[in-house]
């Protein structure tokens, strides 16, 4: 079976709605949904590069964030786990044949979730390191990247220990959820004795149902003012450290959606600073509107800009029967202290704070990308 046929078949099986928004089917002669799905499944995001993928690369529709704590008995085994992550990521992000394996290679070589021939599906594996990895356990104290620290609790935070911090972050992005779950199971299996999962959250992007930015679960257009990822000089100024890494601030921000839905639209718009229908900035923008506090557009705050790459999330209910949904806020920047934190401080006490509750996440340093061959993400810090 040729690859194109395979992908088209897989697309048809997955159903038309799965990756709406991924290009068009014009002229392919295939049902629109199937062709769009096949195109998306065939998209590959390479692991190798100066920088890690998953920062500048466009967001695929689905994402999964898993934080791990190191339980490896030794530094060598920790390094081996990091190496295994990159090795498995190389295989998982390329089209490959699964379910093969000789006797003696273990009970089951692959999950099988994606069938015997696995398309790349834009799978992106991004690895970050938390400050706690550089405590005394593995003799890495002297190697902590400058500027990496534990995420502090900001004034409006209600952080839950079980979903905050972590020695290591794996950000997975892909066109479909099952690609993420296959990758997660594969990576966890390959590092079973060395990395214990601490928390996990899955996110999704809204379908492209209107022009411009997608909407968050408060019903407002979000992420309209990101710096241009095509501007390399700007990215060098705002994102990349001298070591070609970057910092990630991940924040699980629960939205109190039932409460929010009981607030007048006009009140909501004043708190956010946008028209709810069009997303246009309000003509009379209140001084304490969220978007003005987040980005005042003054000369002094230009250098504080961050690259946001978040996903909506939804996951069950709390003990009061309230829906647990919101935003996995992800921002990349060169300096957490000089970019992300000043923004957070400006947001302290904003009107919106009653409706959005940060409950978890953490700060992570993303080392530069693997250089190909046998190199692995984190090799310079751990080997």
């Amino acid at each position: 079976m040729r690859r194109r046929d395979l992908l088209a078949t897989a697309g048809a099986a997955l159903g038309a709605g799965a990756v709406a928004g991924y290009g068009t089917a014009a002229g392919t002669g295939l049902p629109a949904g199937a062709a769009a799905t096949a195109d998306a499944l065939g998209r590959r995001v390479a692991v190798e590069g100066v920088h890690q993928a998953g920062v500048l690369t466009p967001r695929p529709r689905q994402a999964l964030f898993a934080a791990f704590d190191a339980i490896a008995p030794s530094r060598a085994e920790l390094a081996e786990a990091l190496r295994a992550l990159s090795e498995r990521a190389r295989r998982l992000t390329a089209e490959h044949v699964a379910l093969l394996g000789a006797p003696g290679e273990g009970p089951t070589p692959d999950t099988g979730v994606l069938g015997p021939r696995v398309p790349p599906d834009a799978l992106t594996v991004t690895i970050g390191l938390g400050a706690s990895l550089f405590d005394g356990r593995y003799g890495l104290t002297g190697r902590r990247p400058a500027g990496l620290k534990a995420m502090p609790a900001f004034p409006d935070d209600q952080l839950v220990g079980a979903e905050t911090h972590g020695d290591l972050l794996v950000q997975l992005c892909a066109g479909t959820q099952e690609t993420l779950l296959n990758a997660l199971r594969d990576l966890m299996r390959a590092t079973r004795g060395s990395l214990a999962v601490r928390w996990k959250i899955e996110g999704f992007l809204p379908a492209e149902r209107e022009p411009g930015a997608g909407r968050n679960l408060l019903g407002f257009k979000d992420g309209t003012a990101n710096p241009s990822t095509a501007d390399a000089a700007l990215m060098d100024r705002l994102l990349w450290t001298r070591g070609r890494g970057t910092f990630a601030a991940v924040r699980i921000i629960r939205n109190r959606v039932e409460f929010w839905d009981r607030v007048a639209r006009s009140e909501q718009e004043l708190m956010i600073g946008r028209d709810k229908a069009t997303g246009a900035k309000l003509a009379a923008l209140p001084a304490d509107a969220h978007i003005r506090l987040a980005r005042p557009r003054t000369h002094g705050t230009q250098g504080q800009r961050i690259l946001r790459r978040g996903y909506n999330y939804s996951r069950g209910i709390d003990e009061a029967g309230q829906l647990d949904m919101g935003l996995v806020f992800v921002a990349f920047c060169r300096s957490l202290e000089h970019q992300f934190e000043p923004i957070q401080r400006r947001l302290a006490g904003e009107g919106l704070a009653d409706y959005v509750k940060p409950t978890g996440g953490g700060y992570f340093y993303l080392p530069p990308g693997a250089r190909g061959g046998d190199d692995w993400v984190g090799s310079a810090l751990l080997s």
Binding site: P103, G106, A190, R192
Partner: protein, 293 residues
């Protein structure tokens, strides 16, 4: 890939040369880089399991006899209204039963009479009914009738223990399934909700798994000494993480401590899962590992 397979082969030869005993632990290996089976290993027959299973049956009988002693002490303490002594005896009795997990499937209804999980259908009886009395209701009086019934059931099982049938394939699978149960029922907090004694049970689960592995070790070593060495090493690591805290309540440990213990248990299950594949007593299946089309 080829390089690492070869390295594993060399290591296997080295281990075989010293009778399968490892002086230093083997280096960690990706699960995809396993030692190929050697041609001389030959097929495992069901008959080869006769001695290992007979040895395990003796272990079961000894454990149940010891458990009866603990239950007698539990009932005496409960009769005296001595809650701490009754609780201590319960933990020892529970551990005895958790050490024979590889035979649960062979016990039939008596297993559920002794060890039904709270939340399962039907009226709660057995070990965890007594746990509810002693740890949940803090009542020695409430424990007396269920403990008496439990003693009777354990005695019946002990008297049958020499005759229970354990299938060879089941026995090979129990190499990792006892720990799978521990991960699913104990470390989730489901099995012992009132005493939160998952670590007491897990310690016993590891000891029981050791017995299974020991009885199977000649068979495993002959086919792939690295599988045995890695399995034993993973169990040692798990013991080291659990033993110091085995009397602690699981729900009181810090998140990192729990991660380290659950992670070591999962890593051991991963290693032990190589065992049944290696010594599968069924006739070999035709290989279906090519992608066609």
């Amino acid at each position: 890939m080829l390089r690492r397979v070869l390295a594993a082969g060399v290591l296997t030869a080295a281990l075989a040369g010293c009778g399968g005993r490892v002086a230093s632990p083997p280096p960690p290996q990706a699960f995809s880089a396993r030692t190929p089976l050697s041609d001389r290993s030959g097929r495992v027959t069901a008959a080869a399991f006769a001695r290992p299973i007979a040895a395990y049956r003796r272990h079961v009988r000894r454990a149940l006899t010891a458990m009866l002693g603990e239950l007698a002490r539990l009932r005496a303490a409960a009769g005296d209204g001595d809650l701490p002594a009754a609780r201590a005896a319960w933990l020892r009795a529970d551990a005895r039963y958790e050490a024979i997990g590889a035979a649960y499937g062979a016990f039939g209804d008596l297993d559920s009479a002794i060890n039904a999980t709270p939340g399962a259908t039907g009226r709660l009886v057995g070990l965890h009914r007594v746990e509810l009395a002693l740890f949940g209701r803090r009542s020695t009086r409430d424990a007396q009738a269920p403990a008496a019934r439990l003693s009777r059931d354990v005695r019946r099982l002990r008297d049958r223990a020499g005759r229970v049938t354990i299938e060879p394939l089941d026995y090979a699978l129990r190499a990792h399934e006892v720990l799978e149960d521990a991960l699913h029922l104990q470390l989730s907090g489901q099995a012992s909700p009132w005493s939160s004694s998952a670590l007491n049970a897990l310690t016993a689960n590891v000891a029981g798994t050791r017995v299974v592995l020991r009885t199977l070790s000649p068979m495993i070593r002959q086919r792939d000494p690295l599988v045995l060495a890695e399995a034993e090493r993973s169990l040692t690591r798990l013991e080291r993480s659990v033993t110091p805290v085995r009397r602690a309540r699981w729900d009181r440990l810090s998140q990192r401590r729990r991660e380290a213990i659950a992670g070591a248990a999962a890593a051991a299950a991963e290693r032990l899962a190589y065992v049944p594949e290696l010594i599968d007593p069924r006739p070999p299946l035709p290989l279906k590992r090519a992608v066609t089309g």
